[in-house]
């Protein structure tokens, strides 16, 4: 051992360095923990979470043209688009849209396939449900978001 190493050992330099490090970390700005239910975490910008079927904010009409491209793009075949042709305008109109979240792997291919930006995977990550049925979202849930379950006694 060299002299400097001996001195290091006698004056406990390494221990003091460690103490200084933990002391510095006590500063409140270093805290990394979030208080989750009260403090919303910032998820990544490209995070893919709960699906949403967008509506035109002015007319409140769905943006979906019932082209079925999302259902075709889905590797799990979990999207079912049902539509009927309007006899007056000769256009396909969406009647129902089911999305089975229990099988979804959030790959985002449906979102990419959508020509009108109607289907979108949002940043919402709270998807827990007490039943399997609760994970199969219909058109209403997709447009307005899932509603909290109310339990009766």
């Amino acid at each position: 051992m060299t002299a400097s190493q001996v001195l290091r050992k006698i004056f406990l330099v390494d221990l003091l360095k460690g103490l200084a490090l933990t002391f510095r970390y006590q500063h409140p700005k270093e805290i990394y923990t979030e208080q989750y239910p009260l403090q919303r975490p910032q998820v990544a910008e490209r995070y893919r979470g709960a699906p949403r079927l967008n509506v035109n904010p002015e007319t409140n009409e769905t943006l979906c043209i019932a082209c079925d491209l999302c259902a075709l793009a889905c590797p799990e075949h979990l999207i079912v688009v049902s539509s009927e042709r309007n006899p007056n305008t000769r256009r396909k109109e969406l009647t129902n849209f089911t999305y089975d979240l229990s099988r979804c792997m959030f790959c985002g291919l449906c979102e990419d396939a959508c020509p009108t930006d109607a289907l979108e995977l949002t940043q919402d990550f709270e998807l827990a449900s007490y039943t399997r049925d609760g994970l199969i979202w219909d058109r209403k849930t997709l447009e307005e978001g899932p509603e909290p379950t109310v339990y009766k006694k």
Partner: protein, 440 residues
Amino acid sequence: MQSFLEYLKSNVTPGQAGDPLWALIYILIIFGGVSLVVMSMNWLERKALAHMQVRLGPMRVGPHGLLQPIADAIKLFIKEDIIPEGADKLVFWLAPVVIVIAAFTVYIVVPFGPTHAVTDMNIGLLFMLGVASLATLGVIMAGWASNSHYPLLGSLRSSAQMVSYEIAMGMAVVSAVLMTSFAGGSGFLGEIYGTGGANPAGGTLSMIGIVRAQEAQHIWFVFKFFPLGLIAFFVFAVAMVAETNRTPFDLPEAESELTAGFHTEYSGLRWSLFMLGEYAAMVAVSSIAVTLWLGGWLRPFSSWHGPVITLDSYWQGGAVDFVFSLFPALLFFFLALVGFLGVVRMPKHPLFRVQTWGLAAFALVLGGIGVVLLAPPVRDRVQDIFWFTAKVAVFMYLYIWYRGTFPRYRFDQLMRLGWKFMIPTGIAVLIATALVGVLA
């Protein structure tokens, strides 16, 4: 009644006055105070440790988790109390009791101030070390009575550890006791201390006498015969951590190897008695260190004193005394300010409303205590307790700090440190102190 009130005007401890009623009051105050300190230490440790690990710590029960210790205590009270099937019931029951009694009996001689001690024994220090080591017996009893392998291993480790560190501790302590008999010390006990059973010409083992010696020699013993006092203090400070089974020497309760060591089989209230005993012992050994080396209740720069130090004029003093006597009140004002800042910075969420008001009330209480401490009679009577407590608080923070920083020693490393470094250093310091004291 007459003699009860008379005591307030006297300048002796209840033990010296022979007043059992006041002794009882002192004991109750100390018991309550130490229990309160243990509870707040529980919160502080979790909080400080969390911040060192970049976490928040308890946040939910009360503002910043301030009521968490109370919630924990209620939980422990209503928990099932399990005694293992093959356990030795009597010894199992006795072990936590022994630990708590050993931890609390020590406080009889702890001098919180020149008159603020239950009694002043002429063998105070010896008594304190002796009773404090009884805790080892409780640990061994707990490990043996549990009839389980982890507790047994834990208590074996604990006994080996405590026996080897007790020696180093003793050597360091003796060198401090030796210092009481040196330069400037001769006859001081007769002059300012009077009775107490100590030999007026030589050194003393009395806790109050040791602080008086530092007062008379105008130096804290850490700085005496530099660096001898410092080294003895260092040896004691390390041995003290090992004595109380705290990290980095927490082998008897190493959770990664022995679940919880000697108290693995304990639950509920009995388990909380172990915790109470451990924290009370931490405060007790810290107060030995403070008394022996850091001048006990003496404030910093206590030699810059107003009039000559005699017992009659002890409470009077010059400007320096005045400035230092403001410290307790200022500390409480500072804490109240921190509390109010917390109130302002509290999230403006309806769920936080109760917590915000609670914190504001707590800060107001702290400020109120600060105002009470400003009153001259209280100020003068309380400042020695304040300085003693402040010094002990530094040690308590060090305990938490060590726990947040150092990894646990392996058993052979622990033994090597104890026998090959601590004990030789302790003996060397003792001899060197004796030589320097005689020659100087």
